[in-house]
C-alpha cells in the first residue's frame, strides 16, 4: 500500500469522474473510501492500491482504490 498526496477534483468527463490530482502531472481515478472524501478541492493524503485489474468509464488515469484518508 502506498501514499498519494493531492487534491480531490470532479472531472466533467463521462458524466462526472472523481480524481486525485497530485499537482505533479499524475492523475488517479478514485474508487471507494469514505463519502466525505468526495469533495471538490479537498486536499488529502490517501493510502491505497493501484488496481491494474479494474477498468472504468473515466479513462483519465490509473484507478486508485482508497483504503485510508488523512
Amino acid at each position: 500500500m502506498k501514499s498519494f498526496k493531492g487534491t480531490v477534483k470532479k472531472s466533467d468527463l463521462e458524466g462526472g469522474v472523481w480524481i486525485l490530482d497530485t499537482g505533479k502531472g499524475d492523475i488517479f481515478q478514485l474508487k471507494g473510501g469514505p463519502v466525505d472524501l468526495y469533495e471538490n478541492g479537498k486536499k488529502v493524503t490517501i493510502r491505497g492500491n493501484i488496481r491494474k485489474d479494474i477498468l472504468g468509464i473515466g479513462m483519465i488515469g490509473p484507478v486508485l482504490e482508497v483504503h485510508e484518508t488523512t
Binding site: 463521462e14 485489474d53 468509464i57 483519465i60
Partner: protein, 606 residues
C-alpha cells in the same frame, strides 16, 4: 426431359425472385412505417420537368406545347428566367415523351420530376437540433442506404435502461429501440440495467429511437442492442467480467462490440477475448481514453480493436482525448467548455439517459469524452455491416478510407480522419463489389487456362454466361454508382447470390453454409443441363465459386460450423472446389464448346 429441366429452372428462378420480393417488401414495408420515409416517392407520377432554352419566346413555348400535346407551366416564379417548366402527362407516355424532348433543340434538358431523395429531411425528433455530432458525421446520407437492420451491437458498459424492472425503467427514447438478450456480469443475472447513466447514453448514440417525434436520434436506429453490464454504479468493473462479456457477445451473434471503457494497463485475458471475438467476425470499437496522452489506453490499444479519439464541433481534437499513431479514426466526443455552433448548449453529445446513479429518473443529458466518440463509430460500423460488408477488417478499412481528412491526421491523433458515415455507406457496396469482381476475374482466368481458350472463349463471351457469372459473384454492385443506389431491391441485386443470405435471413445468418455451398449452383446446373441456359449455369457456378473464395479470405464466421481445426474454412474450400468443378463440367459438357475451332468440343459433348 426437356420439360423437366424447364420446370425445375422456372421453379428455382421463381423461388429466388419470390424471396427477393418478400425481402424487398419487408424493407419497403418498414420504410413505409417510418415517418421519415412517408410521402417521399422517388419521382412524382406522370410529372416531368423541362428546362427550355433561356431565350425562348412565349410563342415558341406555345408552339412546343402544341407539338407535343402538353401543358407546360412554370415550376415557380423563380423559374421564369431559367425557363424551368413542369407538365403532367400520362405515366405510359413519360419515357417516350422525354426521349423526344431531349432531342428537341428548344429544350436544354427534360427528366421525370424527381423528389430530391428519400431522406432529405431531418428526423422529426425535436432535440435533433442539438445533435451537431450526427450532422458532422453525415448520418442522414447514410440513412439513404439503411438504418442498421439486422445487426446486433453489444454495449459493454454500465448496463442500459432497457426494461421496466423493480427500481429500473426503460427510458422514453429507447421505446422503439430493438434489444436482444444481454447479461449482467456484475450481479450475475439476466437484468443488465443501468445504475449509472453512462451505458444508456452510449447505447442511445448507437440506436436511440429515431423519427418517433420524441427526444433525440441514434445512428443505427434499427440495429439491435445487446446490453452487457460489466461496470458497477461507480463506473468501475473487473477485467475478468469484461473479458467474459466480450466472449459472450461474440458467441451470441453480436457483429459489433462497443467498449467505451478502459484503463492504462494491458490485460492478457481481455486481449485474448478480443482476439477471439475478432476471429468470429466481430468489429470491436473502443474509446482511446481521456488522459490527454500520446498513447491510447486498453482495450483500444490491442491490435484487433478500433481506437477512437474524440473531436469537437470545429473538428479539432478534444483537449482531453488521447492521441498518437495508434488512433484509427476520430469522431465527435464533444467539448462542453465551448459552444462553437452557437445553439445555446455546451458542445457535448446529447442522448436520453437516466440521472447519474438514479435509475428512477431520466432526461436528455449532454456528456463529453472518448466514450461518446466511440459509439459513433460503432453505429457507423453497424450501418456498413447492414450494407453487406461483414468482415471486420473490411468494415474498418471502409470507415478509414472514407473518413474526412482534417490535415492533421497522424500528429493530432485523428487517425485516418473524422468519421463520415455517409461517405462510408456510399462506398461500402462499391468497394466490396470491386474486390469480389477482381477475385471472380482471377477465378475465371484460372478456369480459362484449365479448360483451354478454344473451348472457353465462345461460352464466356456469351451474355447469359457473363450475367450469371456476375450475379453469382459480385452482383450488380455498379448500380450503387447510380441514383438507384440504396433502394431496397437494388440493395439485394447489388450482392452476389451467396451474399443474398443477408437479404433473406439477416446479417446474423451471414455466412450461411447453404448459400455458401455448391447446392444452389448444382440445382441451377441440373435445371439448365443440355438446354440453351447451360452456359449460364456454368457462369453461375464459377461466380459462386469466386464468392465463396472471397469469403474464405475474410474472418467472418460460417454459421453453424465451428471454427475449431479450421472446419469453417474447410467447408468453404471444399465448396469452392466443387463449384469450380461444376462450372468446368458444364463448360466441357456444353454442346457449343469448341464449335468455333475444330469441332473437338462437339465430339466431347457427345
Amino acid at each position: 426431359m426437356k420439360k423437366f429441366h424447364s420446370l425445375l429452372f422456372i421453379c428455382l428462378f421463381a423461388v429466388l425472385i419470390l424471396s427477393q420480393s418478400v425481402a424487398a417488401d419487408d424493407i419497403a414495408g418498414e420504410a413505409a412505417s417510418d415517418p421519415a420515409y412517408q410521402n417521399h416517392p422517388i419521382s412524382a407520377p406522370g410529372e416531368i420537368v423541362v428546362d427550355l432554352k433561356d431565350n425562348i419566346s412565349s410563342n415558341e413555348i406555345e408552339k412546343l406545347e402544341h407539338d407535343y400535346g402538353i401543358d407546360l407551366s412554370f415550376n415557380s416564379i423563380y423559374a421564369q428566367d431559367e425557363k424551368v417548366m413542369t407538365a403532367l402527362v400520362s405515366d405510359y407516355y413519360v419515357s417516350s415523351l422525354l426521349a423526344k424532348l431531349k432531342k428537341d433543340k428548344r429544350v436544354e434538358s427534360a427528366e421525370p420530376n424527381y423528389y430530391y431523395h428519400i431522406m432529405a429531411s431531418k428526423p422529426n425528433d425535436p432535440l435533433y437540433k442539438y445533435q451537431w455530432d450526427l450532422e458532422k458525421i453525415n448520418v442522414r446520407k447514410a440513412w439513404d442506404h439503411n438504418r442498421g437492420e439486422g445487426v446486433i451491437v453489444a454495449v459493454i458498459d454500465t448496463g442500459v435502461a432497457f426494461e421496466d424492472s423493480g427500481r429500473f425503467h426503460k427510458v422514453e427514447d429507447l421505446a422503439d429501440t430493438l434489444f436482444v438478450k444481454g447479461y449482467n456480469f456484475v450481479d450475475k443475472n439476466d437484468h443488465p440495467n443501468d445504475d449509472h447513466a453512462h451505458g444508456t447514453h452510449v447505447a442511445g448514440t448507437i440506436a436511440q429511437s429515431t423519427n418517433n417525434s420524441k427526444g433525440v436520434a441514434g445512428i443505427a436506429y434499427r440495429a439491435k442492442i445487446m446490453p452487457l453490464k460489466v461496470l458497477a454504479a461507480n463506473g468501475y468493473g473487473k477485467v475478468s467480467d469484461i473479458a467474459d462479456a466480450v466472449r459472450y457477445a461474440a458467441d451470441h451473434g453480436a457483429k459489433v462490440i462497443n467498449m467505451s471503457l478502459g484503463g492504462p494497463f494491458p490485460s492478457f485475458a481481455l486481449e485474448s477475448a478480443c482476439n477471439y471475438a475478432h476471429s468470429k467476425g466481430v468489429i470491436i470499437v473502443c474509446a482511446a481514453g481521456n488522459e490527454r496522452s500520446k498513447r491510447v489506453g486498453y482495450p483500444a490499444g490491442y491490435k484487433v480493436c478500433v481506437a477512437v479519439s474524440a473531436t469537437r464541433f470545429d473538428d479539432k481534437l478534444a483537449p482531453y482525448s488521447n492521441r498518437g499513431k495508434r488512433v484509427d479514426i476520430a469522431a465527435p466526443g464533444g467539448d462542453m467548455n465551448v459552444d462553437q455552433n452557437n445553439d445555446g448548449m455546451p458542445d457535448g453529445i446529447m442522448q436520453n439517459t437516466i440521472q447519474i446513479k438514479n435509475p428512477e429518473k431520466e432526461g436528455y443529458y449532454v456528456f463529453q469524452g472518448t466514450s461518446m466518440a466511440c459509439p459513433h463509430v460503432a453505429g457507423a460500423a453497424a450501418l456498413v455491416i447492414s450494407a453487406g460488408v461483414t468482415d471486420p477488417n473490411e468494415v474498418l478499412s471502409i470507415l478509414k478510407k472514407t473518413a474526412r481528412k482534417t490535415g492533421f491526421e497522424m500528429e493530432e491523433g485523428h487517425g485516418a480522419g473524422v468519421l463520415d458515415v455517409g461517405a462510408a455507406l456510399d462506398n461500402a457496396g462499391i468497394w466490396h463489389g470491386w474486390l469480389k469482381l477482381i477475385i471472380a476475374i482471377i477465378v475465371l482466368i484460372i478456369v480459362i487456362i484449365i479448360v483451354g481458350i478454344a473451348d472457353s472463349k465462345k461460352l464466356m463471351l456469351s451474355g447469359s454466361f457473363l450475367f450469371a457469372w456476375i450475379m453469382g459473384s459480385c452482383g450488380l454492385f455498379f448500380l450503387n454508382y447510380t441514383k438507384a443506389g440504396g433502394l431496397p431491391l437494388v440493395n439485394i441485386l447489388t450482392r452476389g447470390v451467396p451474399e443474398m443470405d443477408i437479404a433473406f435471413l439477416g446479417v446474423n445468418a451471414h455466412i450461411n453454409p447453404i448459400f455458401y455451398s455448391v447446392l444452389i449452383p448444382f440445382i441451377a446446373g441440373v435445371a439448365c443441363y443440355k438446354t440453351k441456359w447451360q452456359k449460364a449455369g456454368a457462369g453461375f457456378a464459377l461466380g459462386i465459386a469466386a464468392s465463396i473464395l472471397f469469403a474464405m479470405f475474410g474472418s467472418t464466421d460460417v454459421k453453424w460450423i465451428p471454427g475449431t481445426f479450421l472446419l469453417d474454412k474447410a467447408w468453404l474450400l471444399i465448396n469452392f472446389a466443387l463449384c469450380l468443378f461444376l462450372g468446368w463440367l458444364l463448360i466441357k459438357l456444353n454442346p457449343e464448346a469448341g464449335k468455333s475451332t475444330d469441332g473437338q468440343g462437339q465430339n466431347k459433348a457427345e
